[in-house]
Symmetry: C2
């Protein structure tokens, strides 16, 4: 079965990993690139990398970012030189940034660059950046306008979110690789990701919503909100700051039009009727996946549901 | 006493370290940059860095390059990605290259960039690149024309040298910082360095020879050849391949016009008359310096000789 997943962050990477364990190279994952940014002259792509390291089985599962067992001697030396050290890049991770930056400078698209790096790491699924054009998520907060990583990492998402926008999104276009992935998928799966700054950038790329709507296949979302909380903390906080209750129902409402099925945690079973009223089919199961076995079990249930 | 030294490589860095121990911030060191090159989109300056790490007391004295106690996890990951890994950059060292490249891209000259990095590491002497303009040493060998690091590191200086040239040298000019250092120096000291690819590039920078000749102060060289051998191996090999006997006398002959005094190892005392015949004063001592105490002792003898 050919699947195309969309996602960002640790939650997105986790379910993508489960799906890869089930369908292997028949998986494509469209990943948010709105959090990409430049540091030390290098092009960083935190969401892409989290998905890549997770699918390559080298992710640091404790911190949720970077490579397992990485060291930080480069960062120590950057600090000693008085350089910018708030974004902690591991020594191994830095290789990804160096090679990505070089490939991009050499004229490779972000898509080809990502596929090449992922292939070197033995990733079977196709990891597809949402667009080749640079897009930058900017958040407007009580501390002013902030670039996404400045908000997310440097200030640990403590400023209160008022609004957000995706700078450059008007120039971003779906890639031929994404078009092919969405047109050939037998199901489209929205992994549990932040709907505002993780999924919305992807859906805002010109052509993306239409391709998803035109696909005559099951389009399923898994909620990043379970029992009013999000694994990452920040997603639930954003719901509240944007004036919405953090709930699976709100997630379903935000994705209305793009999906026709919803995977709900048992904890939120009471919301099933509300979500069905949005015109969606609902599957209730355990969606809190922490281990690789959990991820694979959830992925298998989803694949069976759409088969 | 204000001193200006010239040099390259481990030998150059070693005596510069000794001189810094004797005169501290009254030392300026003009360093070869003909071995600078680009790797992974970064600007590397191996000779500059060897001098900088040595004067900052963080050099890896075992390998003669890089930072003591550095790790190579980045390099391992570069290899895993199938990237270029013949030039071994340590994790800590990579911070120097990242920040140098960023400063240069931001419009800082190589001189200001180097002074800023060195200051962060607590270096007291002024480390001055021979020029701000890029110069690339190209060697013509029995294996064809090779960029210097390709010859020196990748092929471990095994190809037989036929000739060499300094690409870009016609555009290189002495910097204001070098002019000031040479005009105010009370002695000019040629550290024990490869005369062909370490010292000759420096002397080939437009304006350099004239400034040195015009200085009415002692101009001293310390031989990199002791008993027909060089510490680095490669210098003595180059003499032979270029049809010259590796000897202190040949070093003195090559530097004729630029120097008026010569420091000779006891082992080579028999060559003293020959060197005196070139019109130079000669000081005989132990020039094989391996420890910091050795370096400081040799530096102190030189300072006393010219005082």
């Amino acid at each position: 079965m050919k699947l195309t997943a969309l996602g960002s962050g640790v939650g997105g990477a986790g379910l993508a990993d489960g799906l890869q364990r089930v369908v292997g190279e028949n998986l494509a994952v469209i990943v948010n690139t709105g959090d990409n940014f430049d540091l030390h002259g290098l092009r960083l792509a935190p969401d892409l990398d989290t998905v890549m390291y997770t699918l390559a089985d080298i992710a640091n599962s404790e911190t949720g970012s970077g490579i397992a067992g990485d060291t930080f001697n480069n960062l120590d030396m950057i600090s000693r030189y008085g350089g910018e050290d708030w974004f902690r890049i591991g020594d191994r991770e830095l290789a990804t940034h160096l090679l990505r930056t070089q490939l991009l400078k050499g004229g490779s698209t972000l898509t080809r660059t990502t596929l090449s790096l992922a292939q070197s790491l033995g990733v079977r699924a196709r990891i597809l950046p949402m667009a080749n054009e640079p897009v930058a998520t900017i958040v407007n907060t009580n501390a002013g306008e902030l670039a996404f990583q400045e908000y997310f990492v440097h200030r640990r998402w403590q400023p209160i979110l008022k609004s957000y926008r995706f700078y450059g999104i008007d120039k971003a276009r779906v890639t031929p690789e994404i078009t092919a992935a969405l047109q050939t998928a037998q199901a489209i799966i929205f992994c549990p990701s932040n709907p505002f700054v993780g999924v919305e950038p992807i859906l805002s790329v010109k052509g993306m919503r239409d391709l998803i709507k035109q696909a005559r296949v099951p389009r399923i979302a898994v909620s990043p909100i379970i029992g009013g909380e999000s694994l990452d903390g920040v997603t639930a906080k954003m719901f509240k700051e944007l004036g919405m209750e953090p709930s699976a129902f709100q997630v379903a409402r935000l994705l209305r039009g793009a999906i026709d099925r919803f995977v709900l945690d048992r904890l939120d079973e009471a919301q099933a009727p509300l979500i069905k009223d949005l015109g969606m089919r609902v599957w209730v199961t355990d969606t809190l996946v922490r281990t690789q076995a959990d991820r694979e079990r959830l992925a298998r249930e989803i694949v069976e549901w759409v088969s």
